[in-house]
């Protein structure tokens, strides 16, 4: 049984058809690289999966359960174990790391007062175990603004990890990062895999996607135009497949 199964997903924005009958599935503990040019429909697809907006038509199954799309939302998706890390929409930069880790899920007493000591201790543990921020002198009290881009992604991914998400969706997590920072982020994704989680990884950069994914799905103009397992295809061939898909698109014009 697939962890997530999206069947025949259509999405129209007015007259614009963003998705035209997409089938998309993620198995347990699988990293799926979602590739495609700008406007191919990658972001639309994962926004539907993460509950930002509903599809115009189509069905979603999570762990075999058919989802009621009328009440499906980001919060609801999280209850099903799906956490999405949106770039620029994940963290409050002027707040501390521990406040960000527990945003919306604060440990409190019955009157709603924060259990700060617990939050800080847990954050420290998460940073040691998952992010391996060792000896770097970053305390849970540090402001997120002072962290590097890769570390910020780490906090957002670590948050999903900490709250036991089964599937973590990463939308362009390496955009605008230096090579060293990209390595860190890819390390976090490998750590997710090692801990038995699944991941949907969206990126423009084939090299990053190839390095970590188990399977690749190529989207173009709202449709799946290619799907490969890592064993079946080399990085070179994946690049070729992508180029072919786009050339095909140009034939349309």
């Amino acid at each position: 049984m697939a962890l997530v199964e999206m069947v025949d997903i259509h999405k129209y924005f007015g007259k614009v058809m963003a998705l035209r009958g997409v089938n998309f599935r993620v198995e347990e503990n699988e990293i799926v690289g979602l590739i495609g040019d700008n406007g191919a429909g990658k972001s639309t697809l994962i926004k539907i999966l993460s509950g930002v907006y509903p599809p115009t038509r189509g069905t979603i199954y999570i762990k075999g359960e058919k989802i009621d799309l009328r009440s499906y939302s980001v919060v609801e998706a999280r209850k099903y174990g799906i956490e999405t890390v949106f770039q620029d929409e994940a963290l409050g930069l002027r707040q501390s790391i521990w406040r960000n880790l527990f945003l919306g899920r604060e440990p409190t007493n019955r009157l709603g007062f924060l259990r700060i000591r617990k939050a800080v201790t847990e954050t420290d543990r998460m940073m040691r175990d998952f992010l391996k921020f060792r000896g770097a002198g970053i305390s849970p009290d540090a402001t997120v603004k002072n962290l590097s881009g890769g570390e910020r992604q780490g906090i957002a991914i670590g948050r999903a990890m900490y709250f036991e998400a089964d599937l973590v969706i990463l939308d362009e997590p390496t955009r605008a990062l230096s090579v060293k920072e990209i390595e860190k982020v890819l390390g976090f994704v490998r750590e997710l895999k090692a801990r038995g989680k699944a991941c949907v990884y969206i990126s423009h950069t084939i090299a990053h996607v190839y390095a970590i994914s188990d399977r690749f799905v190529i989207l173009d103009r709202g449709q799946v135009v290619g799907e490969y397992r890592k064993e079946e295809i080399s990085e070179e061939d994946l690049n070729q497949a992508l180029v072919r898909a786009f050339r095909h698109e140009e034939d349309y014009r």
Binding site: V75, E89, G92, R94, Q95, L103, G104, G135, D141
Partner: protein
């Protein structure tokens, strides 16, 4: 951020300990800065007129006037942290004061009048909040309109006349503006209680946490299941209630309501909050800073006059202090 691998273990742990101490101090450097400013201002005053500034009387006078700026400043701090603004609180003060005066005169009950006044503040805040969050009008526009609307309303309702209150012997008056131990005004005590409460709520309660995040990154807050509209509406309600409370105190203190009540509080209150280090960009601010900022702004005029300068200097110093403070914060914020 990174430490070199070649550093021996002992030094490394010492280094990281020092970093922890430094980050802890750094965390409070905004507060330390504004407190330093207060000390500086009072040092100048004391130097200018030691006789006045080394006696209790002048401080008692400050405790009598500062709470008005302070109490409304607390509300404004929350509003600014949530990345909104409220320009209507001086009129809210007048409207709630009017409600208090008329309800007290007709019912004779101080408690009922107090509740009615706080209720009017709550309603005004809720209306501001709904207009901003549901209708989607920027808060600067909504509250500017509300500021005129409420001022106009009380002038029409009261036909421009002030109302004197037979409130002098009422026990509620003592509770609001009496003197504790013969010297400390009760409204200064209320200001202190409110400050502590709102400080604890801002940094140690779930609601305060949500206010910080809604102002910092509204989308991130929404993605994590927080309803920014609700949070912002509550913040406007808090502002409305605090302004209403200030109006009631003013009534109780002067034993009179007048149609221009609250006029002249807008800019000093904003100045106090900004001197205190709250940012226009949301997500950042301190209650401690606002309290200290209120004392700086609230004592400036009396201080300058007492120090032997003419009152004309007040504005100049106010301007200077604001610019000094915000420059300091801008530099500090780049570093922390």
């Amino acid at each position: 951020m990174s430490s070199k691998n070649s550093v021996p273990m002992a030094e490394l742990s010492l280094g990281s300990k020092m970093i922890t101490v430094l980050t802890k101090l750094r965390k409070y450097q905004m507060q330390l800065g504004v407190f330093g400013l207060l000390v500086l201002v009072f040092a100048i005053f004391a130097f200018g007129n030691p006789k006045v500034f080394l006696s209790w009387a002048i401080y008692e006078a400050f405790l009598n006037t500062v709470p008005f700026i302070g109490i409304m400043g607390l509300g404004l701090t929350y509003v600014l942290i949530s990345k909104e603004i409220d320009l209507s609180f001086p009129s809210t003060m007048a409207f709630a004061g009017y409600t208090f005066a008329t309800v007290f005169k007709s019912s004779g009950s101080g408690a009922v009048a107090l509740l009615a006044a706080l209720g009017s503040g709550l309603a005004i805040g809720a209306l501001n909040g709904l207009m901003v969050t549901r209708v989607g009008i920027p808060s600067i526009v909504v509250t500017l309109g509300m500021q005129f609307l409420l001022r106009g309303a009380v002038q029409v309702l009261a036909a421009g006349l002030s109302i004197s209150l037979p409130f002098a012997e009422h026990p509620l008056r003592w509770a609001l503006v009496g003197r504790l131990w013969g010297g400390i005004p009760m409204h200064a005590v209320w200001f202190a209680l409110l400050s502590v409460t709102l400080l604890v709520v801002l940094f140690h309660h779930r609601f305060g946490n949500h206010v910080l995040f809604v102002g910092d990154n509204e989308n991130a807050a929404r993605m994590m299941g927080i309803n920014p509209n609700k949070v912002k509406t509550y913040v406007f309600i808090l502002m409305g209630c605090l302004a209403a409370f200030a109006g009631v105190i003013e009534n109780a203190r002067m034993l009179r309501w007048w149609p221009l009540m609250g006029e002249g509080y807008l800019l000093p209150t904003m100045a106090a909050v900004f001197i205190g280090g709250t940012s226009m960009f949301g997500g950042e601010g301190t209650i401690f800073g606002t309290v200290v900022g209120s004392f700086i702004v609230g004592s400036l005029e009396a201080g300058i006059v007492a120090a032997g300068l003419s009152g004309f200097w007040t504005r100049l110093f106010e301007g200077l202090l604001i610019l000094l403070a915000v420059t300091f914060y801008a530099i500090v914020r780049k570093r922390i």
